[in-house]
Amino acid sequence: MKKRLMLQVLAWVSLVLGVRAAEEIDIERLAGGVKTIPISLSGFTGEVESVLKFDLEICGFSVVAADKAQYWVSGSNGASLVGRVTDRVSKAQVLGQEYRGASPRTLAHTFADDIIEKLTGVKGIARTRIAFKGDFGKTSEIFVADYDGHGARAVTSDQSIVAAPNWGAGRKVLCFTSYMKDNPDVYVYYPASGERRILARYSGLNTSPAISPDGSKVALICSKDGSPDVYVCDMDGKNLRRVTRTKESESSPCWSPDGRTLCFSSQVGGRAALYKISAEGGEMRRVSTVGVGGNLTEPDWSPDGKWIIFTSQTGGFDLCIVPAQGGEAKVLVAGEDPSWAPNSRTVVFTRRVGGGKRVLSLLDVPTKRVKDIARISGSSSQPSWGR
């Protein structure tokens, strides 16, 4: 009888969550419980070798000696990059490809992406880009860079304070906050044309833009009608609607991948905690984060819809993760303001390194491996991964 009930429950779970749910919902496994895949690297030199090592190590691989490796990654780099992947046990060649026609960095990133996709079945992230805030003390500017921090360049020259960049899907549009006109206003920037427009310039606060996954709307924080609340407007700033109505502060909205729900931080219950609300408005529902305390802010919903990563502040700052529906939450590593990569496993985040300086690092969530990325001269914070 008990067994039958159990089976029924399991069948129901499978129906609701999908057949692989039991495996995928495993937070112990996700939050650092996954072992790296051992590979060896031979034949490459200089920048190509270091790029390959970085790209593979941040996506769940460990570079080890050939006799300990599950796969041998070998090849050469000269006028072109020749890359092979061989299964050590079966000696079968899994991948063999020649790459040419781009910089050595790009060739190496492309080979790394191919390896990752072949061996894990998930599209690589080595050729994605991030946006962030570069802070130089009195002024700050919005920067974009490769995901490993290389090739950073400023996209603003406001000589003012900027904040909270956010990429739209496909990196065709970038939203951010700038104090250029003596008020925190939200701007929309189209990198292809260089066009820049004001999205929200109301009295008080306008900040924390988050572009909806379909690119049609922006969620943001405004305070024109009272305390800072979550609002949603169209990409041209029109049809601004207030979504939350609290006396307390809200901050950092993000979208569910289906574009129906917003997750954000609110102080409505005293300490800042995570809440969800329909993008159309309605009732706020608290996201249960069992096992994690402190002020909870800066949620980011994984592109596959399964997880919400966020910052908890108890004394320092920690990155934490919880299933998107709420439940048991886990502390990952020290850091703040996480943003998911398109692969739903890597995040870029901010780390404080003393003296008021902040740097950006990458975290591979399943293996908890952290890598710093290339730095600019000032402080870097508030990264947004282009997805």
């Binding site: 304070i161 008080g204 900040t207």
Partner: protein, 207 residues
């Protein structure tokens, strides 16, 4: 450990059926000195809340150029930025009245009230002037959280000034979060000086 993947969905399922049986293993937050235990309410210390119900604060109705709403929760809708355009900033005039806040709070402490009263008196003395309130935070918070907190601090000061008879439509708030510290440093002395609301007098442009 291996079984947790099985247990979690089942637990979720039970939860969904309305039979909450999850064992909670709450670790509990590390206490921070000065951390508030409950929701701070503007008005708890020093002055009663403004505008609960359909109250429009009085004072200097004559200067009211834009109708602005007193919300039932005591906050105010903001006046349009255009009402402040072209005015000249005089940061020195009210520099002595910078109000300081407790860690992670936005309520105005009773000990800071006299500064707000002095600002109210100055504003009531010259109806042509307006006011910019800048809200600031220390660096012990995440950036966007602090941007919202700074705004709420500036709004608390606006609410208090409204209660003291200054038309809130004469007041503009601007939050810098933690981006414009008064002093550098990662210690309590520096943090205390950075958690602040600054009053900047706005004078009409000479004709």
């Amino acid at each position: 450990m291996k079984r947790i993947g099985l247990i979690l969905p089942v637990a979720l399922c039970i939860f969904a059926l309305g039979m909450t049986g999850c064992k909670r293993t709450l670790k509990g937050p590390t206490p921070i000195p000065g951390q508030r235990a409950q929701v701070p309410r503007t008005g708890d210390e020093g002055f009663p809340p403004v505008g609960r119900g359909p109250v429009v604060p009085g004072g200097d109705d004559a200067s009211r150029t834009t109708r602005i709403g007193a919300n039932p929760d005591g906050t105010f809708s903001a006046t349009g930025l255009e009402e402040f355009e072209g005015m000249l900033k005089d940061p020195a005039a009210l520099a002595n009245y910078t109000v300081y806040f407790d860690f992670d709070r936005f309520n105005v402490k009773a000990s800071e009230r006299s500064k707000v009263e002095a600002v109210a008196a100055q504003l009531k003395g010259d109806m042509a002037n307006k006011l910019l309130i800048e809200g600031h935070c220390d660096s012990r918070g995440t950036e966007e959280y602090n941007r919202s907190l700074g705004e709420r601090r500036a709004q608390s000061l606006r609410e208090m000034l409204a209660h003291l008879g200054v038309g809130p439509e004469r007041i503009r708030t601007l939050s810098y979060g933690e981006d414009k510290p008064a002093v550098q440093g990662e210690n309590e002395e520096a943090w205390a000086k950075n958690r602040r609301g600054e009053f900047i007098l706005l004078r009409p442009k000479p004709q």
